[in-house]
């Protein structure tokens, strides 16, 4: 009956994962339909108005390096940016932005609207249509059936979403938005296993009612960083955030609401993230602390609404209001929207392949919170991968796009999800990566842009830019090995930095190795000054990293190569683990479920003991 055409790729959900997936597939040439419950809410920041941070900032740069959009959208809509951890080593440098929530969403929508391969449809998807274990399309609440060769589900917190505030609870995918029903049941009928997770968000308040003079100002960097490797503009003006603290009085008032807390009374069954606890959780678990940090974050350039970071709560709204007014600077605070907790369905990601395609239904992909992750960046990272693979499946089959754990945080993310699964919302940390020093924010373009270009997602101009950067970085390093620095230029600086003075000329390369010295210090010598002219900040900093930390980078590369060997021992995905009589029952069950593709992945499956891995190795070596 349908007057709608068939699509190649349908993306269900227009959040961070969905937008990135739709953009990637469309850019690669697929005909894409993006279905959303509400066209006005594309690319919403459901929680804090910020992008990046430790490990997450690296993911955004990886998405950008591959040719994704999140970095560009963030750069265009930031109100403040910082490079976190500059005092730490290069693996920890992480860009973070405060965003204008409304502009962010608008900018994303414009980007998608500019792509002629993307169609939009506002409706609720209720069914996925499957024939012979292959996806054939979707069905909506209006009864419309859309055909598709690939379908990507990016439903976020909307699947059977349930919002809790104190004793009250109601269906919803986000405050003031309805939940999505039908898909979970449809997938369960197909044999998918689902679970329940929980997350929460703090109240939003009126900046006009706050006394910022009592808080500490948190400005952006004087040299604000960007996320994109393209020529996006750096901010010329920024808005500050503000820091204040809770106190015992705040805690005492919050405690009066504990008997109505959906968390403590057990009304919420879903598991929440340990690293992003609600304020009531923090008070309960860490009762010895008499205060907790509160960051007040503006929601945009032109709005008075602010986000109360650190005060995530699902206590009754009157308790929220009363407690908040005891925070210094919040004495007269007026609330716009209360904090709340939300429960939603997710599908344990061990049901997926590395391409994010489900093992059960060919052509069906999951990305984002539906896989049990949390965070805009984690969602976008999965979105771009699902988008690329959903497209490739149609146009370039048997050519999966997978990133390794030593190639990208995105690779670590997906491998962790599909191999270990997760029973709490999964957030990326740098410590999840074995090769942190290789996965830096300064080299995501070195790692991934050529790959993105070969796929067809990153433009030629991006590739050219990386090549120029790499050439200039190498030039700096080569010249530093040749250039000698005169004591008279450098000794005053060495003295100031309490680094031992030099008696004779010394190679710039050897001086960069000193932990106390920065490459910019060496500009005291006119030869270095000349050498660094016409080089970008990115180039100079990367050259410094490669020289200063060469030993560590080498060590980690060695380790990566060593451990990679175990990944080269392949396992047939149809391998019958029961045929190894000596494997423990638990291992047989876990391995049969995950179906790892190599021994390295098998060793990361939780519940599989090292001795079972040796049994497997013995068997595989033999055959």
């Amino acid at each position: 009956m349908s007057f709608f055409k068939e699509y190649e790729v349908i993306v269900v959900g227009a959040g961070h994962a969905g937008c990135e997936a739709a953009h990637a597939a469309a850019k690669l040439g697929s005909k894409v339909l993006l279905v959303t419950l509400n066209m006005n809410n594309i690319a919403q920041m459901s929680c804090n108005p910020a992008v990046g941070g430790i490990a997450k900032g690296q993911i955004v740069r990886e998405i950008d390096a591959l040719g994704g959009m999140m970095g560009i959208v963030t750069d265009e809509t930031a109100i403040q940016t910082k490079m976190l951890n500059r005092s730490k080593g290069p693996a920890m440098w992480s860009p973070r932005a405060q965003s204008d929530r409304m502009m962010f969403a608008e900018s994303w929508r414009m980007k998608l609207e500019q792509n002629l391969n993307v169609d939009f449809w506002q409706d609720m998807v209720t069914d996925v249509l499957v024939k012979n274990d292959k996806i054939i399309g979707i069905k909506t609440q209006l009864g419309i059936e859309f055909g598709a060769k690939s379908v990507i589900l990016t439903n976020g917190t909307f699947l059977n979403g349930k919002i809790h505030i104190g004793n009250k609870n109601f269906g919803g995918g986000r405050a003031a938005e309805r939940a999505s029903t039908g898909i979970t049941a449809s997938l369960e009928t197909l044999g998918f296993e689902s679970g329940r997770m929980k997350t929460g968000t703090p109240p939003r308040v009126d900046a006009r009612s706050l006394d910022f003079s009592k808080m500490e100002e948190q400005p952006g960097d004087s040299n604000p960083p960007r996320f994109s490797y393209t020529d996006t503009k750096a901010l010329t003006s920024q808005r500050s955030c503000w820091l204040t603290y809770t106190n015992q009085e705040v805690h005492d008032i919050l405690k009066t609401g504990f008997d109505k807390s959906p968390m403590f009374t057990g009304r919420i069954e879903g598991i929440g993230p340990r690293y992003c606890p609600s304020i009531e959780d923090k008070i309960e678990r860490f009762s010895q602390r008499d205060r907790h940090q509160i960051f007040v974050e503006p929601e945009g350039w032109n709005t008075v609404e602010v986000y109360v970071n650190g005060f995530s709560t699902s206590l009754p709204e009157d308790v929220q209001q009363k407690a908040m007014q005891k925070i210094i600077g919040f004495e007269n605070a007026k609330m716009f929207r209360p904090g709340y907790a939300i429960e939603y369905d997710y599908f344990p990601p061990t049901q997926l392949k590395h391409t994010l395609e489900t093992k059960q239904v060919e052509g069906l992909y999951f990305a984002g919170q539906i896989n049990g992750t949390t965070g805009y960046e984690e969602a976008s990272g999965q979105g771009i991968m699902a988008g690329i693979n959903a497209h490739k499946r149609i146009h370039n089959p048997n050519n999966d796009f997978i990133l390794g754990r030593d190639q990208a945080y995105i690779g670590v993310l997906i491998d962790d999800l599909i191999t270990k699964g997760t029973d709490e919302p999964y957030r990326m940390f740098t410590s999840r990566a074995e090769y942190r020093i290789l996965l830096r924010q300064d080299n995501a373009d070195d790692r991934l842009t050529e790959i993105g270009y070969n796929i067809g997602l990153a433009d030629k101009s991006r590739l050219d830019k990386v090549k120029i950067k790499q050439k200039n970085v190498n030039t700096i390093i080569d010249k530093f090995k040749e250039t000698s620095i005169e004591p008279k230029f450098l000794n005053p600086i060495l003295q100031e930095k309490t680094s031992s003075e030099i008696k004779q000329k010394m190679k710039a390369y050897n001086l960069v190795l000193r932990p106390q010295l920065s490459i910019y210090d060496l500009k005291a010598d006119p030869n270095v000054e000349i050498l660094l002219t016409n080089k970008t900040q990115e180039e100079i900093e990367q050259a410094e990293i490669l020289m200063k930390y060469e030993g560590y980078i080498f060590k980690e590369q060695e380790m990566a190569n060593k451990l990679k060997k175990i990944d080269t021992i392949k396992i047939d995905p149809n391998f019958n683990y029961n045929s190894i009589k000596t494997l423990s029952a638990e291992s047989i069950q876990k391995l049969t479920k995950i179906r790892p593709l190599n021994l390295g992945q098998a060793s990361r499956v939780s519940g599989v003991s090292p001795s079972d891995i040796s049994n497997l190795l013995i068997y595989l070596e033999k055959n």
Partner: protein, 528 residues
């Protein structure tokens, strides 16, 4: 072990006791059909007993027959005959050494009986086990971790009391649990560093760097202690190498024979690492010593001899004890002292024994008792003198010469050689021929290995793989300390901490990043 048997799950058989005559021998059968095979040939004295029905860890007395118990035998054919009276121990699946159904047959220790029983079962379809296959199965079935599996191998190959004690303590998991403790400490340290990294934006208090340095220091001390124990452990496990150095006619082989005499029965001669070296082993007080005979050293211009000397040095390098033998009738005290000092200088780590041979030749006073005592080495025997044969003509002449010179300062001094036990150097006057002073050498050697440490409960590392892992861990910790002192940031520190964790993990099991995060979440208030 044959690779194709690695993952087999059939029933296997092998003697569990060493070959050779003994009062009893144990034959082990392991695998899913161990009981049913045994039942076929075993007839219990207590009638009506069914091996398939008995409880695990029970012993059953009876006979092993040469044909199946239930076989119908024609009148004119020989009936079943007992091979031996045996004790059968039954272990159920999951409850045995291998983790499989197991039967142990204790029979009499005759080679004939053992062979007949083995043959009987092999003919019935049980496979003869490869060397190490029982242990392999135990490891495969998760009965041991890697270090314990290695301990079993060590236990089987232990040739001395001390080495079997050591393997036994490792089998009980001693090494694993010590390493696990170390890893736990390191893991806590790593968590603190990771906390600083991933949660630097959170409101968490970070530990003081100086506390870290103390923590790493104390972990390193433990690693160091385990590493040091390797020299003892290795000595106990593989024997203590003793290089016997001396010129060809100073009496080295006589000395070796004298040393080995009473232990002849347990001495074995095995080919050494180089073709021309024969190592002799001697067990003293439960500790094995390996004697390496060498060519001796002296200054020479001869090319061939120079090569020989190089070889001697190589062998001395490998030894823990250098036993330099002198013929005191031919070497002046000053010369001996010079050589002794040179050895101490060259090998400050090694034990230096200066053996002064042929002290008996100085004062051929009649003493039928023989046996030198400390400080009174002039006692010798008539027989001793009389034994000087034609080959020893030179020595006899020398003795005559010495006797003539008796009373001169040089020879008087020679009589002053006494048993001297110094810090790194020990002088032991002996007569290899008359076996004087041999016990002193043995006492000295056995005092070098403090077997007593085995009983203190301290963990001793005896496995080279463990030692190497500890060494790697120690190197990583060195880098950590160095990095902390020079203010290297945490993400780089973490590389070496993870390196150390990885090295220790190689001994027992693997580490995952999940361990780190789990540790962090359990202890700190994270989250804005």
């Amino acid at each position: 072990m044959d690779l194709k048997n690695l993952s087999k799950n059939d029933t296997i058989i092998a003697p569990a006791t060493s070959p050779g005559m003994g009062a009893i021998a144990v034959i082990r059968i392991s695998g899913p059909k161990a009981i049913s095979y045994t039942k076929k040939f075993f007839t219990p004295y207590k009638s009506g007993k069914d091996l398939a029905e008995v409880k695990t860890h029970t012993a059953h007395f009876g006979e092993i027959l040469d044909q199946p118990v239930n076989l119908e035998i024609a009148e004119d054919q020989p009936k079943q005959q007992p091979i031996d009276e045996v004790l059968i121990n039954v272990f159920h699946d999951g409850k045995s050494f291998t983790g499989e159904e197991t039967v142990e047959i204790s029979c009499h220790g005759s080679t004939y009986i053992i062979q007949t029983i083995l043959q009987l079962f092999v003919d019935a379809g049980v496979r003869a086990a490869d060397a190490g296959e029982f242990t392999m199965r135990a490891y495969r079935n998760g009965k041991f971790d890697l270090s314990q599996a290695e301990a079993v191998a060590d236990l089987i190959h232990s040739t001395s009391k001390a080495s079997s004690q050591l393997a036994l303590s490792q089998l009980k998991g001693g090494v694993s649990s010590e390493i696990s403790k170390l890893r736990e400490q390191l893991l806590n340290f790593a968590s603190l560093i990771e906390l600083e990294l991933d949660f630097s934006e959170e409101d968490v208090e970070f530990a003081d760097r100086s506390e870290f340095i103390i923590l790493v220091g104390s972990i390193q001390k433990l690693v160091g202690k385990l590493m040091t124990s390797f020299s003892l452990g290795n000595a106990i496990k593989n024997g203590l190498p003793v290089a016997i150095v001396g010129e060809p006619n100073v009496g080295k082989s006589t000395l070796l024979n004298a040393l080995l005499e009473e232990d002849r029965a347990i001495v074995s001669s095995i080919a050494g690492t180089t073709r021309d070296v024969i190592e002799d082993e001697l067990n003293i007080e439960g500790v094995k010593f390996r004697f390496i005979d060498t060519a001796g050293i002296r200054e020479t211009n001869d090319e061939i001899e120079t090569k020989g000397i190089e070889k001697t040095f190589q062998k001395m390098d490998m030894a823990r004890v250098v036993m330099q033998v002198f013929d005191v009738t031919k070497t002046a005290q000053s010369e001996i002292e010079k050589v002794a000092q040179a050895l101490v200088d060259k090998y400050p780590e090694k034990e230096i024994l200066i053996v002064l041979n042929k002290v008996d030749l100085f004062n051929p006073a009649r003493n039928s008792e023989g046996g030198a005592t400390e400080g009174n080495l002039s006692q010798s025997t008539e027989e001793c003198v009389g034994e000087i044969s034609a080959e020893d003509e030179y020595a006899a002449a020398k003795r005559a010469e010495l006797n003539e010179m008796l009373g001169t300062q040089e020879t008087k001094l020679q009589f002053n050689w006494e048993f001297q036990n110094q810090e790194t150097i020990t002088y032991i006057p002996i007569s290899a021929k008359s076996e004087q002073g041999i016990q002193k050498i043995k006492n000295k050697l056995s005092s070098l290995v403090d077997v007593g440490q085995l009983n203190t409960g301290d963990i001793i590392i005896s496995n080279a793989r463990h030692y190497n892992s500890l060494k790697d861990a120690n190197l990583s910790l060195d880098s950590v300390l160095h990095a902390m002192e020079s203010g290297i940031p945490g993400d780089l520190l973490a590389i070496d901490i993870r390196g150390a964790l990885h090295s220790l993990g190689e001994i027992t099991g693997e580490i995952t990043t999940d361990d780190l995060l789990g540790n962090i979440f359990g202890k700190f208030c994270i989250g804005k």
